[in-house]
């Protein structure tokens, strides 16, 4: 993918977060040697292209009491999985939801949904809500609770041209 070098510098400059000052884009503009209006314009353009999803906060789930995390997985009819996946993804307690290929014979699940809660009981109750939503289109499910984070590095754009 070709990327404008200034856009790339702008992404690199904001990967760790925005400057927390009243006029953050003016600070970025000074760093990049372009105008504040251009920074805002470029960010708007990146958003229109879907490269920026949103500008906002990532709350720390654990610090806010969301200490139980389960990856729920579902074996859903191929013809219905996309329509039902949209509805599962829209549930307020689901953080990510994807359709992925099955790995038969051991792994029959094609719909993945991450569920968060204050306790395992809460996560299980939410899993039951998803099961009710999927109904007869679902032929099996499982839940894989997180035990330990073994590695976590955020998005790291390399400094070279991609």
């Amino acid at each position: 993918m070709t990327m404008d070098p200034t856009d790339r510098t702008l992404i690199e400059a904001t990967q760790a977060g925005l400057p927390l000052v009243p006029a953050p884009f003016a600070v970025l503009a000074e760093t990049l040697g372009i105008s504040e209006a251009e920074v805002i314009d470029r960010l708007k353009h990146l958003k229109d292209r879907g490269i920026i999803r949103r500008i906002g906060a990532a709350p720390n789930h654990y610090r806010l009491g969301m200490t139980a995390n389960g990856m729920t997985v579902w074996d859903v009819d191929d013809g219905l999985v996309d329509a039902l996946g949209e509805r599962v993804g829209a549930l307020p307690f689901v953080s990510h939801s994807y359709r992925r290929p099955r790995a038969l014979p051991d792994w029959p699940y094609n719909l993945f949904a991450m569920v968060h809660g204050a306790s395992r009981e809460e996560v299980q109750a939410k899993r039951a809500d998803i099961a009710a939503l999927l109904g007869e289109a679902c032929h099996g499910s499982d839940i894989l609770f997180s035990k330990r984070i073994l590695k976590k590095t955020g998005l790291r754009l390399r400094a070279k041209e991609g």
């Binding site: 925005l18 906060a57 689901v94 953080s95 290929p101 984070i149």
Partner: protein
């Protein structure tokens, strides 16, 4: 961990998860909504970030739209070999996240590379180094995501 959040901080955390307007003074918009001064909003956001209640404040990028290739992978690692395999898997810079999960497939990681081909070759290297099968679960479709933590 217990943390006594004020009602105002809770409202702020909830509001900050929405998209911030792309204007010269974005926090002024929140300040007006919350009947605070702009500087007070900025100070509170900074304090929430410094105290670790917010992991990050800024743009969220779609890594795939940036041109990279990603793949969720899983392995069934015998418990007695877990640490050894973990060291080998994590040594690959392409491994971006790795989680231990309670299941026969107990190691789940995300490969982030510059191309699809590198996904396959990295997975093959891990299989060679560990003697264990790596299952690949590439994303076929992402569904609408509406997650918010209710502070």
């Amino acid at each position: 961990m217990t943390y006594d959040l004020s009602e105002l901080d809770r409202r702020l955390i909830n509001r900050l998860q929405d998209d911030l307007p792309l204007t010269s003074h974005p926090f002024a918009v929140l300040a007006a909504e919350m009947e605070l001064s702009e500087q007070e909003v900025v100070n509170r956001v900074r304090r929430l970030r410094d105290d670790g209640l917010l992991t990050r404040f800024g743009p969220f990028f779609d890594a795939e739209a940036l041109g990279g290739a990603f793949c969720l992978c899983a392995m069934a690692v015998p418990q007695e070999r877990f640490e050894e395999v973990l060291t080998k898997v994590n040594a690959h810079p392409e491994v971006a996240h790795n989680y231990e999960r309670e299941h026969r497939l107990n190691m789940w990681f995300v490969l982030a590379t510059e191309s699809r081909a590198t996904i396959a070759s990295t997975a093959a290297s891990i299989e060679r180094e560990t003697g264990l099968e790596v299952l690949l679960f590439p994303k076929e479709r992402e569904f609408f995501i509406g997650f918010r933590v209710n502070a």
